[in-house]
Symmetry: D2
Subunit: 367 residues, 4 copies
C-alpha cells in the first residue's frame, strides 16, 4: 500500500538554490513537489520557460510545464522550502508561517531571531523545541526553521563532536569558498579566473559572531544560551565550482590527543543518523587519511548521500593551539538546499508537522 | 664613459626560475650574463634549443645562440645565480664558492646552515656579516647567500616593520599559493582545475620552524639567535598562475592600534630602499585600502619594480589575536629569482664583491 | 539463479584510462574483474598502494588489496581491456591475443592494421567479421579489437546516421579538447590555465587520414574499403576537465534540409541500441535544441548511460557547405574506456567469445 | 619646444573598454584626456569613485579626482573615443558628430552605415574618403569612424595581405574567444569555469555577413563595393582572460604555396606602419614558427606595441581548401580600444582633424 507523500512547495524555484531544492526533491521518499513559486515577473510562466536550469542533467521533465505561482500563501502544500533572496524572504516567510505552513528557509533573515531555530539536525536537534516558543510569541499556526550559512554549516558540523568531548574555546578559520556560493550569475568570470577575491560581504561576521554560537548553544527555557567560544575568520572566494574548503586551528578546554579527536569523529552518531533520515549521510563526518585531502573536486560528493557529508582531513598538532585540520563540504547541497531538506526531515520525524507526518515518516522508514 | 658591468652566470638556466633570472637580468644596470649553465643533458646545446621558454614575451634574442655550459667552476663570471634543483644544488654551489665565485642561491640546501645568510635585503642586511664566518669556517674565497622560500619571503617582509615596533609573538597563516611555485611542468592541470590541493610538501615546516626565525633573528657574534615567535601555517595550492596570497593573524608583545600598524608599514624605509638598489621597489610594502584587495591578478605586479613589492590589505582587529590582514607577493619574482637578484645587489653595494664592485655600484647609482 | 560472469583483466590498471575501466566495470552485469595488471615497477604491489586514484569517489574498496600482476598472459580471465601506453601496447596485446585472450584495446598501435577492427558498435558492427581474417592471418586463438581516438569517436558517431542517408563528402572540424585526454599528469597547469594550446601531437592526422575513413568504410571480402570523404581538422587543448567539443561543417553528396538531418539523428537506432547492450546509451545521439548547447560541463554526462552518448546541437545551414553543428562527447568514457567496454559487449553478444558468452549475454539481457 | 596635444574625451569611461581607452591614452604623444564622460547615474562623481578599475595596475592617479561629465556635446575636446554600449551609442555619437567633434567609436551602431568608415588602418585606410560623403549626407561638421568587432579585426588583419596577392574566396573560421570580450561583469564564472559556451549572440552574423566584406571592399565613388568572399564562422567563448584565438582555413582565387603566404605576411608593410603611427605595431603581423603557437597567454601581448599586433602560426596545407593557420589577437586592445585609437592616429595623420592636427602629427613623428 502506498502512503501519500507530504506536499511541499519551493519558494524562489528558478534561482540556484531553488534548482537544488527541485533536484534534491526528485524521487524523495517523503516529499512531493506540488507548487513552484517565483517572483512576480515569472509567476504565470511554465517553469521550463522561466528557469534557466544550471545544474548538470536536465530539469525534471514533469516539472517543465508546471506554472509558476506567486510566493504567497494559498498554494497547495503543507511545507515550503524557501530559496528566496534576503530582500524578500523576511516578510514572505512570515506570511506563510502565519498562514499555517511549515517554512524551512535557507535565507538569513530569521536565523538570528531568538525564537527561530537555526538548525543542523546532527548538531542541535533539541533546538526545535523553540517552535513552541515561536508559536506562542507570534501566534502562528505554522513555523519557520532556518539552516546556517554554507561556510558555517560544515565548520560547526566538524566541531560539534569535538565540542561535546573537549569543549571548543578558540577557532581560527580561513575559508576557500566556491563560486556557486554567490548564486547565479554571481561572481563575474573577470573577477575570479586566475585570481582569488579575499572578501565576501558579511561572511566573516556570520562566522565570528552569529551562527556557531547559536548552533552550539544550549537550550535554556525559552532561549538559546550561546556557546562561549571565540572565532577568527578570513573568508576568500576561489576559482572552484562547488565545495568550501576550510583550514582550521582549534584550542579546546582540555587538550585532546590526535587519536582522541579522530575517535570523536569516527564514533559520532547523532540523532539524524540514528533516525536514518533519508538525506542524512552515514556517517555524518568522513575522515580522509590521505596527506593531501580533502580536495573540493574529489571529495565534495563523498559519502552515502552525495554532498551531505562533512569531510575532514590532515589532522595534526598545531604549534599555537591544540590541533589543526581541514574541513570540506558541499556548499549548495548540505550548505544550502540539502541543509533545509534535512531540517524538514527532522521536523517531520519529530512530529512537528502533525502526528500524521510522524507516522508517515515512521512507516516509510520501516519500509 | 661607460663602466663595465659585473659578469654573472645562471646555473639551471633552462628551468622556470632560471628563465626568470634571465628575464630579470635583461638590461640590468650592474650585471651582464656571460654564462648560462644547465644539466649535463643540455650542456653543449644552444640556449634557444634546450630551453622551452615559458614566460610572456620571447627569450632575449641575443641569448638564443649562447651555448649552455655545465654547472661547474671555470665559467667566465664573478657571480652566479643558482636556480638549481635541491637534488644537485648543494654540492655544485659549494664547488663554486670554493672556487672563488659569489653564489646567490634560490635553492633550499644551504638556507639553514648557521654560517650562510638567509637574506631579505629589507629585513636582515646585517646578516651578511656571516660571510666572514663562512669564509673562515670553510676556507672559501667565494661565498653562498640564499633567499627564503616564496611563501616565507612575503610573510616576513610584511611582518618585519611590525616586529621592529611591536614584537611579533604568534602568527597564524594560511597560504593560497600559485601553481608557478611548483615549477614546470609542476602541478598537473588534472589536479588543480576546479580544485585546491591543501598540501605542499615541506612548506609548512619551512614556515613554522625554519625560515622566519632565522630571518628575524639577531646576529650575535658568529651566529644568528633565532627570533622567538610561534607560527602555525596551513599551506594550499590554488588555481592561480602567479602570486601567493596569505591570510594572517598576529599577536604582538604589545597591542598596537590598527593606525600604528598602518603607520609602521607606511613609514618603513629599510636599507635596500635607502641605497636605491636597482631592483628594490619604492616603497617595499604597499598597503591597498580597498576592502577586497590585494588580489593575485590585480596586485602581483604592483609597485615600482613589478613583482618585487609586498602588498598588504584588509588590516582589521582579530577576535583572537591583535590584528589580521592579507599579504600578497609575486612568488617567482620576489619569491625566487628577484629575491636572489636583490640579494646580489646588496652584496655588491656593501662591498662583498670587492671594492671595485662597490665602487661600480656607487658610480652607477649616482648616474 | 545467478549466471557466472565473464572474467576480465585490465592492463595498465593504474593509469587514467585504466582507472576508468575499473570504475566502469564495477557492478557490470556481464563482466567481473579478476586480474589487474601494471608495469613491472608496480607488479606485486596492492592496487590501493600503487594507484593514485584520480576519479571522483574512491577506488572500489574490494580492489584495494588486489595484488597487481605483470602484463603478460597467464592471468586468470578470458578478456582483457588494454589501457596500455602505445610504447608497450603493441607487443603485449599481441602476446595476449596469441595466447587465446580477447583484447579490447584503447591503444592506437593496432588501430590501422587491416585485419584489426576499429570499432564503434553503433557505426560499424559488421567490421567484427575481420576477426576471422585476423585469426587466419596471425594464427591467433584470441583476438584484438580497438576503439578509435576520443575526438574521432564522437565526430564519427554524429556523422554516421547522416552518412547513411546523405553521404558525407567534406568535413571541417575544429576540436576543443579536454585536458583529461592527455592522461595524468598530462597537461601542465602552467600550460593551460588562462590559455589554449592549439596543437595536439598526431591528433589532426588521426582525424584527417586514418580513423574516420576506416570506421565509415565498407567491408569487402577480407578488407575494409575506406570511405571516400575529405576532412580538415584543427585540434586544440582547452582548460576543460572532461568533454571534447567539436565545431563541424559538412558537405554531403546531396543537400539535405535541416529537418532531414534532425530526423536522421532522431530516428537513429543502430544495432548496439537494438541489442540493448548494457553500456549502450538510449538513444545513441542526443540533440539539444538550446541555442547555446551542448556545453562540456552541462552535457558531457547526458543520456541514459553517463558519458556514453554523443550530444549534438546548434544545427544550422553553413554558408560554405550544407550544414554546421556542434558535437560533444565525453573523452575518457565513450572516447576511451567506455568505448572499449561497449566493444566488448558487442563482441560477447555476437558470439565472438564463444557460444557460452553469447548465451550468457542473452540470458542476462532477458533478465 | 613642446607642441600642445590634441584634447580628447572618453565616452563611457567607467566600463571595460572605457578603462582601456584611459589606460592606452596615458602618456600618448599626440592625445591628452580632457574629459571623461559616463552615464547620467555616474555624471558628477569623481572618476576614482564611480569607476571600479579592473585592469592590472591602478587607475592613473591624476584622473581619480576628475569629475565625470554627461555624454553630451559641450565637453572640452576635439575628438571623442566612444566606449558606449550599443543601447545608447547611436544617438549620442551622432550628436557629437553634428556638433563638430570627431568620433572614433567602438560601438557597432554605425559600423554598417554606407557612409561611415569601418576602419583598420592597415587594411583600408582609403575608406576614410567616406568622411566627405558622410559630411555631405548628414551636414555634420564632425564625423564618425568605427572599428570592427574584436574577432573580425584580427581575422581580417591576417587575411588582408593574402587577399591582396591571392584573392580570398572562402574562409572557414572557428573562434575561441576570451571572456573579456563580453565586458564586465559579462560572463558569469558559473557559465565558464571548466566549460565552453559555444554561442555568442550576433557574433557569427558579424563575421559571416557584415564586417569582413566591408573592410576588404573597394571604394567606388561614394560607396564601398563589398569584397566577394564567403565565410563560415563558429564562435565560442572559452575560459581565457584575454586574446581571441581563431582556427582558419582559406581558399584563394589562385593556389599559393605555403612559402608565398609566409612571404606575403612577412613583407607586409601597410600605410599605418609606413606612417609610423604611435600605436602601430612594427610589424603589423607576426608569424610564430613554433608548432604549438600562437597561444593566448604567451602571445596576446607580442610585438612592439603590446596587444596591437596580429599573431599567426601553424600555417599548413588544408585538405579541403588551400591553407590553414591560426590567428591570435588581443580583443580588448587592438580588438576594441586600441583599434579606435589607431584609427584616430590615422585620422590625424591624414589631416581629417584639420591641417593643424596633421602638422602636429608630423612634427611629433619627426621628433
Amino acid at each position: 500500500m502506498s502512503v501519500p507523500k507530504i506536499k511541499v512547495g519551493v519558494l524562489g524555484a528558478t534561482g540556484a538554490v531553488g534548482q537544488r531544492f527541485v533536484q534534491m526533491l526528485q524521487g524523495h521518499p517523503w516529499f512531493e513537489i506540488t507548487a513552484l513559486c517565483a517572483s512576480e515577473r515569472n509567476a504565470g510562466k511554465p517553469y521550463g520557460e522561466a528557469c534557466r536550469w544550471n545544474l548538470r542533467g536536465d530539469m525534471p521533465a514533469h516539472l517543465r510545464d508546471v506554472i509558476l505561482q506567486e510566493c504567497a500563501p494559498g498554494i497547495d502544500c503543507q511545507l515550503v522550502f524557501s530559496a528566496l533572496p534576503s530582500e524578500t524572504a523576511g516578510e514572505i516567510e512570515e506570511a506563510f508561517a502565519a498562514a499555517g505552513y511549515g517554512v524551512c528557509s535557507n535565507a538569513r533573515n530569521h536565523r538570528y531571531d531568538p525564537d527561530v531555530p537555526l538548525l543542523i539536525p546532527e548538531v542541535n536537534p533539541e533546538h526545535l523545541a523553540l517552535l513552541e516558543v515561536q508559536r506562542r510569541n507570534r501566534g502562528w499556526s505554522g513555523f519557520i526553521v532556518t539552516n546556517p550559512n554554507c561556510s558555517t554549516t560544515h565548520l560547526v558540523s566538524a566541531l560539534h563532536p569535538l565540542h561535546l568531548r573537549f569543549g571548543v574555546k578558540k577557532v581560527f578559520v580561513v575559508t576557500m569558498q566556491a563560486i556557486s556560493g554567490a548564486g547565479y550569475p554571481g561572481v563575474s568570470s573577470m573577477d575570479i579566473l586566475d585570481n582569488i577575491v579575499p572578501y565576501i560581504g558579511g561572511e566573516e561576521e556570520k562566522m565570528e559572531e552569529k551562527e556557531p554560537h547559536k548552533l552550539l548553544g544550549t537550550l535554556e527555557g525559552d532561549r538559546i544560551r550561546p556557546a562561549e567560544l571565540t572565532i577568527s575568520a578570513h573568508c576568500n572566494r576561489v576559482p572552484v565550482r562547488n565545495g568550501h574548503l576550510e583550514a582550521v586551528s582549534v584550542e579546546f578546554e582540555e587538550a585532546p590527543t590526535m587519536e582522541a579527536i579522530l575517535e570523536a569523529w569516527e564514533s559520532y552518531r547523532p540523532l539524524a543518523q540514528q533516525l536514518r533520515l533519508p538525506s542524512a549521510p552515514q556517517p555524518a563526518i568522513l575522515y580522509n587519511p590521505a596527506q593531501d585531502r580533502p580536495q573540493p573536486r574529489l571529495d565534495r560528493l563523498a559519502g552515502t548521500v552525495p554532498g551531505m557529508a562533512t569531510v575532514v582531513g590532515r589532522l595534526r598538532p598545531d604549534p599555537l593551539f591544540h590541533a589543526k585540520f581541514l574541513v570540506l563540504g558541499h556548499n549548495t547541497i548540505r550548505g544550502a538546499a540539502g541543509g533545509s531538506l534535512l531540517n524538514a526531515e527532522l521536523i517531520v520525524a519529530q512530529g512537528y508537522l502533525g502526528p500524521e507526518g510522524a507516522a508517515l515518516a515512521q512507516s516509510l522508514q520501516v519500509a
